[in-house]
C-alpha cells in the first residue's frame, strides 16, 4: 500500500475522495479551518455547498442521502456549529438516514476546560447518532472516517459524527486509506432464517384477508422490485407508511393507500379486519398504530425488519423475520403460492368510495383554494414523477394523501421527528443529488420561516428547486388540534408573515403568489416550466382541516372522516 505524508486535515479530504464523496454541505469556523483549507485544493473534485445555518447543512445532506441512497456529508465547526446539527442528527437517527458529520473541535489539550467554542459534542450527540467518535491524533483520522462511512450506510442506516480536534487536523501522518468492511461487534446484515420465512409463507398461504404494510425499510434495502413481484404473486393489498410512500406505485391495482393518523380510510380500518398483517421495513410508530391495545388484534403479525430491536418493540410478532427487506421478500416470493384476493380487494375499494364521498361532501370548489386541490394539480402536472419534499404539518399530510407517487425515492419528509424547517434545505440536497429530476418542496408558511435563510444557498449555488408554499396564515396542524380538541382556543397559532414573493425576489429567485382558483393552473405551469429556482406561494383556506384522522388514543378503526 502506498503512503504519503500529509496533515490530518488533508487526510480528511483524501478520505472523502476515497469514499467517492462528490458533494458536501457545511459552514466553516475556527476549529475546522485547517480542514476547509485542505478542501480549497480539492474544490473541483469535492463540491462544497455553503449553507446559511448548520441545521440547513445536515437537512440538505439528509435530502441528498434520501434522494439517492448515498451517504450525505456535513462539515461544521466546534461549539455552536456542532450544536446546530443536533436537530438534524435526531431527525436522521429516527428516520434512518445515512449521514457523516465531521465537526472541528478545540485542541485536545483544551478538552473539558470550557475553552472558546468548546462543547461536549460527544456527550450531546451520543443519544442522537448511530455512532460517534472523537479523534485526537492525526494518524487515527483515515480509520475513523472509514468506520464512520461503513456504519452510516450499512444495516439500518443512520447518522454518524466524527469530532476532530484541531491538533489532530494539524498533525502529520502517513496517509493510506483502507475502507472498513466490518468489525467484530457490528453485524449489520442479519442472516435470513429459513424457518422464519417458511412460517411466514405458510401463514400467507393460509390467509383469506392478508394485508401488507410497507415502510422505508423497503426503500433503504432497494427492494422495490422484489416488493412488486411479491405483491403480484400473492395478490395481497399493499398499504404504505408515510416514509414508505413511493416504494410501491400508488397507481397499482394492489395499492390500497397510506396508513396512520392522516392516512386513508380503507387501510386503516382494514388493519383491524385482516387475518394476516405483513409489516415490512416499518416500525409500528404510534402515528401508524393509534392505540396499540386495539391494533390488528385479530391478525397474525409477520414482521420483517433489519433491526432486531424493532421486532416485538411495539407489536408482538407471531413470526419475526429479522432480515434485510430485499432478502426477505425474495425468499418469500419463492415460497408463497400465487393467489388472488378479489373480494378482499373489493372491500378496500368500497371503503375508499365511502371516504371519497364523505370528504367530497365537506369540500367545495367555490370558496378559497384548498391544499388538496393544489397538490392534486401538482401531481397531475408532474405525472407523479417529481421528487416531492415536504415539511411538517397539514400540507405534509395533504401531500402524502394526494400526490400520486409513481416512482421510488420521490418522497422525502421528516417522519419520525416531525422537524419543521426540514423541507427547504432537504430539497436543496435532493436537487443536487438528482439534478435531472423536478424537485418540489411543499412547505407551510410556518415551517418555511424556520429555515428560509437557505434561500441564500439556493441563490449562491444556483439550485433549481421549486418551492411551493401553502399559506393558510396559521400553524395549521396545531390550529386543527386546537379546533378539534381544545374548543377552538387558538392559542398562538395565527401567524403574520412577510411578503414571501418579495423576499424570494430579494434573493434573485423568481416568485409569484396565487390567490384565486383561476390563476392556479398558470402559476403551477410557470413554476414547473421555469428553468431555475422558483417560489410559488398559494393562499389557501385559513381554517381547513385534514381528514381522515385517527385522534390520539383512538384505534385505527375509529378513524374520523369529518
Amino acid at each position: 500500500m502506498k503512503t504519503t505524508q500529509c496533515t490530518g486535515a488533508q487526510a480528511v479530504v483524501r478520505s472523502l475522495l476515497a469514499e467517492q464523496v462528490t458533494t458536501l454541505f457545511g459552514y466553516p469556523g475556527g476549529a475546522i479551518m485547517p480542514i476547509y483549507d485542505a478542501l480549497y485544493d480539492h474544490r473541483d473534485a469535492l463540491e462544497h455547498i455553503l449553507v446559511r445555518h448548520e441545521q440547513g447543512a445536515i437537512h440538505a445532506a439528509q435530502g441528498y442521502a434520501r434522494a439517492t441512497g448515498r451517504t450525505g456529508v456535513v462539515f461544521a465547526t466546534s461549539g455552536p456549529g456542532a450544536t446546530n446539527l443536533i436537530t438534524g442528527l435526531a431527525d436522521a437517527q429516527i428516520d434512518s438516514t445515512p449521514v457523516v458529520c465531521i465537526t472541528g473541535q478545540v485542541a485536545s489539550a483544551l478538552l473539558g476546560t470550557d475553552a472558546f467554542q468548546e462543547t461536549d459534542v460527544m456527550g450531546i450527540s451520543m443519544p442522537v447518532t448511530k455512532w460517534n467518535v472523537q479523534v485526537t491524533r492525526a494518524a487515527e483520522i483515515p480509520a475513523a472516517l472509514a468506520k464512520a462511512f461503513h456504519i452510516a450506510r450499512t444495516g439500518r442506516p443512520g447518522p454518524v459524527l466524527v469530532d476532530i480536534t484541531k491538533d489532530a487536523q494539524l498533525g502529520l501522518l502517513d496517509f493510506t486509506y483502507e475502507p472498513c468492511t466490518g468489525f467484530r461487534s457490528y453485524h449489520p446484515k442479519p442472516e435470513l432464517s429459513h424457518s422464519a420465512v417458511q412460517e411466514a409463507a405458510h401463514l400467507l398461504d393460509g390467509a383469506r384477508k392478508p394485508l401488507m404494510v410497507v415502510g422505508q425499510g423497503v426503500l433503504l434495502a432497494n427492494a422495490e422490485e422484489e416488493l412488486l413481484r411479491f405483491a403480484e404473486k400473492t395478490g395481497m393489498p399493499v398499504a404504505s407508511t408515510l416514509l414508505g410512500l413511493g416504494a410501491f406505485p400508488t397507481d397499482h391495482p394492489l395499492y390500497v393507500g397510506f396508513v396512520g393518523m392522516h392516512g386513508d380510510y380503507a387501510p386503516n380500518i382494514k388493519t383491524n379486519a385482516c387475518d394476516v398483517l405483513l409489516a415490512a421495513g416499518m416500525r409500528f410508530d404510534d402515528r401508524v398504530t393509534g392505540d396499540i391495545s386495539r391494533y390488528a388484534k385479530q391478525a397474525k403479525v409477520v414482521h420483517v425488519d433489519i433491526d432486531a430491536a424493532e421486532i416485538n418493540k411495539i407489536i408482538t410478532a407471531d413470526v419475526a423475520v429479522h432480515a434485510d427487506a430485499k432478502d426477505a421478500l425474495r425468499a418469500l416470493t419463492a415460497l408463497v403460492q400465487p393467489r388472488q384476493h378479489a373480494d378482499w380487494l373489493q372491500e378496500f375499494s368500497d371503503a375508499k368510495a365511502v371516504e371519497v364521498e364523505t370528504l367530497a361532501q365537506h369540500t367545495g370548489t367555490t370558496g378559497e383554494l384548498r391544499m388538496d386541490e393544489v397538490v392534486q394539480l401538482l401531481s397531475a402536472r408532474t405525472g407523479g414523477e417529481a421528487l416531492v419534499v415536504t415539511d411538517v404539518g397539514q400540507h405534509q399530510m395533504v401531500t402524502a394523501r394526494h400526490y400520486r407517487y409513481r416512482s421510488t425515492r420521490s418522497n422525502i419528509t421528516s417522519g419520525g421527528l416531525g422537524t419543521m424547517g426540514f423541507a427547504l434545505p432537504a430539497a436543496i440536497g435532493a436537487k443536487l443529488a438528482a439534478p435531472e429530476r423536478t424537485v418540489v418542496a411543499v412547505i407551510g408558511d410556518g415551517g418555511f420561516q424556520m429555515t428560509l435563510q437557505e434561500l441564500g444557498t439556493i441563490m449562491q449555488s444556483k439550485v433549481a428547486v421549486k418551492v411551493l408554499i401553502l399559506n393558510n396564515r396559521f400553524l395549521g396542524m396545531v390550529r386543527q388540534w386546537q379546533q378539534l380538541f381544545f374548543e377552538k382556543r387558538y392559542s398562538f397559532t395565527e401567524m403574520v408573515s412577510p411578503d414571501f414573493v418579495t423576499l424570494a425576489k430579494a434573493y434573485g429567485i423568481a416568485a409569484e403568489r396565487v390567490e384565486a382558483r383561476e390563476n392556479l393552473e398558470q402559476g403551477m405551469a410557470r413554476m414547473l416550466g421555469h428553468a431555475g429556482p422558483y417560489l410559488l406561494e398559494v393562499m389557501v383556506e385559513k381554517e381547513d382541516n385534514v381528514f381522515p384522522m385517527v385522534p390520539t388514543g383512538a384505534s385505527v378503526s375509529e378513524i374520523r372522516l369529518a
Binding site: M122, G123, M126, R184, S185, H187, A308, A309
Partner: protein, 180 residues
C-alpha cells in the same frame, strides 16, 4: 406470549459485553435513562477475554421492559452481546466494608458478630477497624443492622458482580461473532 410474569416488576441482572472504548459506560446508561429505568447497581471490569469489558447492571423492571432494553443495547455498534438474567440464573455477590471504632472490640461483642456473620476483620488501626463481608444484599445489610449499635463510622457496598449458571462461555460467543 404476554403472560402475567412478563409484566411483573422484579429484579434483573443485565450483563453487557463491550469493546473497551471511551464513553462506553455513557452509551450503555443512556439506554436505561431514556426508558426511565433506574439502575440499582452497576459494576464494570475487564472480562475473561482481554479487551472485552463486562458491565453488570441490576435493576427493577418487568421482563417486557428489560427485553427491549437488551435489544437496544445490542444495537449499539460496540456492544458484543447483552444478556438478561433472572435472579435464579446467576451466582452473584456484593462486598461490603464497615468502619467501626477500635474501642468496640473491648468486650468481644463485635468479634462475635463478625464470626457469626462469616465476616472478617480486614484491618485494625489504633482508631478504627474495617470489617469485610461478602454476600447478598440481605446478608451485608443484616450485618449492618447488627453493627449499628456499636456505631458505624463509614459503610460502603459494591455493585453486584455476577457470573451466569449456563456453561456457554463468552469466548464461544466471540468466536461465533467473529465467524459471521
Amino acid at each position: 406470549m404476554k403472560t402475567q410474569d412478563h409484566d411483573r416488576e422484579r429484579s434483573f441482572t443485565v450483563s453487557i459485553f463491550t469493546e473497551d472504548r471511551i464513553g462506553m459506560l455513557n452509551r450503555v446508561t443512556i439506554i436505561f435513562t431514556r426508558r426511565h429505568l433506574n439502575i440499582a447497581s452497576i459494576t464494570a471490569s475487564e472480562s475473561e477475554v482481554p479487551g472485552v469489558f463486562r458491565y453488570t447492571i441490576v435493576l427493577q423492571a418487568t421482563r417486557a421492559q428489560v427485553d427491549k432494553v437488551v435489544g437496544q443495547l445490542e444495537r449499539l455498534v460496540e456492544v458484543l452481546k447483552a444478556f438478561v438474567h433472572e435472579e435464579e440464573e446467576i451466582v452473584h455477590q456484593e462486598i461490603a466494608l464497615y468502619k467501626v471504632r477500635t474501642g468496640t472490640l473491648a468486650n468481644g461483642a463485635v468479634e462475635r458478630v463478625v464470626r457469626e456473620n462469616h465476616a472478617r476483620i480486614l484491618s485494625v488501626d489504633t482508631q478504627f477497624l474495617v470489617i469485610e463481608r461478602t454476600g447478598h444484599v440481605a446478608e451485608t445489610q443484616a450485618l449492618f443492622e447488627q453493627l449499628k449499635p456499636f456505631g458505624i463510622l463509614e459503610f460502603a457496598r459494591s455493585g453486584r458482580v455476577a457470573v451466569t449458571k449456563p456453561m456457554k462461555e463468552l469466548s464461544t460467543y466471540l468466536k461465533e461473532l467473529e465467524a459471521k
